[in-house]
Every structure is written in C-alpha cells, then in structure tokens.
Symmetry: C2
Subunit: 148 residues, 2 copies
C-alpha cells in the first residue's frame, strides 16, 4: 500500500471567544463546516468540533478494519454499526488532551461464532491506525456485539 | 473547562474491498459522508477518509489554539488560514500508522511583529490537543507566515 496523504483547510475569523472557524475537506466531501470555542466546550448547537471529527475518523477506521478482518476470515459482514465517542479532558501539568476514545460496535455477520467475532474485533483494534494513534497517549475501549 | 465528549456513527455494508461506509456526526453537521478502501488508499474520488477527517480536526484545533494565543497577547487575528496534511504510512513491524501531520498557516494580524507571531505559533502548537495526539506517535511540522 502506498503512502496516503489527505488534507483539509480551516478559515478562522475573529478572536478566540467570539470568532468562528470553517473547515473544508480537500475532496469536497464536506465544505465550510462551522465550529467555535463555545460550541466546542459547551453545547454543540449544530456545530462540529475537532473532537467530533476525530470520532468520525476513528469510527470509520475501526469499521473498515473490522470489515477487513471479517472478510479475511471468510465471513464478510452484511452490516456494521460503529459509534466512537472521543473525550477531551484536562491532564495534570499538560493542559487539555484527548484522553480516550470509546468504541461501540454491532455487527450482522451470517454464520459467525461469538468466539470468531471476538477474535476479529481484537485484531481490528490492533490493526486500526486510529486505535494506535489514540493509544499512544490515551485509552481505547471497545464494546462489540454480534447481532443474532 | 469541563470534560468534552463528542460522538460520530459509521454504518459499513459489505466486504472490505467492495463495501462502503457512511459517517455521520452526532451534531448533524455532516451526514452519511461516504468512504471506502479504494478511495482511502488510492484516488479519493470525492469520498472522505479517516485521514482527511483527522486533517480537518488538527487544522481546526490549531487554528483555534493560534486564535487563542493571539487574543491572549492582545492582538486577536482578523483571519487565519490553516491547512493540515495527514500522512498514513507503513511502519516496520507495526503495520499502517499515522506518521505525521504537516501544518501550514497564514495569518492576518494587524500590528503584530514577526517575533511575537512566531512565539504565538509555538505556543499554539504546544497547547493544541491534536498536536499532542499526533506527536505521541508521529511528527508534527508547522510552517507559518504573517501576511503583510
């Protein structure tokens, strides 16, 4: 697999408390999504945030990793649902840090045993670059269930 | 500042090579953005990816941090432009990892000296939780220019 590079742009206008940013994807998939300090640390009020974007990245990465593990085992998924919750908190002597990402997954995989599912979940977490990213300075938890 | 939690959801359907995911923000700011393995590692073809979402998060975090430092110094910015480029690459014995995030910033700040700008940029990088996240296992570079 070749090296992958992906970019995004932010325009910020005004001071930190009353100003606002807009974030745009290089691919055009999202455009000028608003974010601000009050909506980042308080009520989100329909605005995104760096933490929400990381949750989206981690959920996407884990879902693809899990699809990969299940496909490789000969039991590709019909459907996966992954929710990631990213937590930003104050860390002593370090200011604010991403301290955790909590993953919840449910999977519809015909004919898969619970044991093989648990193995695929562990391998997906071990292989997902975003799980590794968060684990380097925080915690990743995974709760996964197999739909019956 | 209180603890911040932000979530996003992914639905993935199909095997890893031909299936597709859709990522949705809890705030509703973005909804069912498509991504897939071929568009993640090859031509993006108008689809997003975990790496693009992280670039958006890092650019947004750094822009807000820089606005914060400049505001605190008594010279709030009129306008900041920040681009982040996230790099996913193969690491020996570790598989694929987020190895770097490259930040490029330009700032319009009336009356600010180059020296004070450089200090604000350094402090913004040191304080931004996403710079810390990437630095725990990879590299962050910052190139910044002050518009004249």
């Amino acid at each position: 697999m070749p090296k992958v590079e992906r970019s995004a742009d932010v325009i910020w206008e005004g001071n930190v408390a009353r100003g606002e940013g807009r974030v745009t994807a290089e691919t055009g998939t999202f455009d000028a999504l608003p974010f601000s300090l009050p909506s980042r640390i308080g009520q989100a009020a329909g605005k995104t945030s760096p933490e929400e974007l990381l949750a989206a990245a981690h959920a996407g990465c884990f879902a693809m990793s899990l699809a990969g593990e299940l496909t490789q085992a000969g039991t590709p998924p019909e459907r996966l649902h992954v929710r990631a919750t990213v937590i930003l908190d104050e860390v002593e002597n370090a200011g604010h840090r991403i301290v955790a990402s909590e993953l919840r997954a449910s999977a519809r995989v015909p004919g898969l045993s619970r044991e093989d599912f648990d193995r695929a979940v562990d391998q997906a977490d071990a292989g997902c670059p975003f799980s590794a990213l968060v684990k380097a300075s925080g915690e990743v938890t995974v709760r996964a269930e197999l739909e019956s």
